[in-house]
Symmetry: C2
Subunit: 175 residues, 2 copies
DNA sequence: TCCAATGTAAAACGATCATTTTACATAGTC
DNA sequence: GACTATGTAAAATGATCGTTTTACATTGGA
């Protein structure tokens, strides 16, 4: 495995499991199996490493949610939660831990959310033949965020409930 | 103002604005206007201070959401978000930043979520005359969490959208 | 074969971390 | 008027923070 891939992968696990600020560079180098010199050559800084982790996660997330219906969208989320764990949205967590004060991080978060938003808009337009409006799309977005957050303490079943709800809303808008 | 109240109030602001781990005790003592000795006499430890902040916030939150309909519930949330700011659920943030590894904090989070959950169940039972089931209550919970999360990057309007959606779901279940 | 690149290991950097301690001031109470 | 409680100010604690540096090994192409 490529050395930068290994670094970002190890960092993502630790950040997700223990939090961004609480994860020190020592633990990072140890988990990634490299010296701190190599880490800094590839990552630049901790903030930049966090941004890289999020950028990579965004790519993976979009790939995994490349679907054409709300039903599939929430099934993809359920799958994500079961495979990757449910500790909440890592983008919002990074944003919160840094107070929104680190531009690199705030921008990746915003870009990710913009991506999710336009994916949902695209699906709604597709499924309702243009009958669904912006309001419906935002309701689906809220259910999506809500499922992610609720899954933290109620498990993946929350995503199933969210899916049923979302599918019903779209069906009502289409008829 | 009572000295412990002042401490907890100052701590809540800093934790919410900058994150828990990123907020040092120096900044805490300075903001609370007291020596570190006094702080530790009252708070015990940082973890314990975080738990106290959350416990106090839970009390305030429950007081502000002591309503009898989903419409009022989401109006209360909208008000909360407009007054207190929308940086996400502080309980989930604390839980995430500590990796769920600090029992004091994990327990307050769980207690808070249990409180919200039973409040929603209570309202649903009231509004649907017992026709609403557990599934509906969980949908409302997900909308509630979703509104809180979405408000971080889309503002308080997300809560209005969530309210409209929630009210409609309850109305459909009642008829 | 020499050079540049890329890696490791480990020490050093000054800053900051959470927490404790030492020394002292100001109250209210018996 | 001594005692206890409660506060401040400030230094000290040892650990850990993110980051840089020094010294050295390996390797692949010119």
């Amino acid at each position: 495995m490529d050395i930068k891939t290994k670094l970002i992968s190890a960092a993502e696990s630790l950040f997700d499991r223990h939090g961004f600020t609480a994860t020190g560079m020592d633990r990072l180098t140890q988990a990634a199996g490299m010296s701190s010199r190599t880490l800094y050559k590839h990552a630049g800084s901790k903030h930049s490493l966090i941004a890289s982790v999020l950028t990579e996660r965004d790519r993976r997330f979009l790939r995994r949610t490349d679907v054409n219906s709300v039903n599939e969208l929430f099934k993809a989320l359920e799958d994500w939660v079961r495979v990757e764990g449910c500790r909440g949205c890592l983008f919002l967590r990074a944003y919160g831990e840094t107070g929104g004060d680190v531009p690199e991080i705030a921008e990746v978060m915003a870009a990710h959310k913009a991506g999710v938003w336009s994916k949902i808009q695209e699906i709604i337009a597709l499924e309702t033949n243009g009958r669904g409006d912006e309001q419906l799309a935002e309701q689906i977005l809220i259910l999506f965020e809500g499922a992610t957050a609720t899954a933290i303490y109620r498990g993946a079943d929350a995503v199933i409930t969210a899916r049923h709800c979302a599918v019903r809303l779209v069906k009502q808008a289409s008829s």
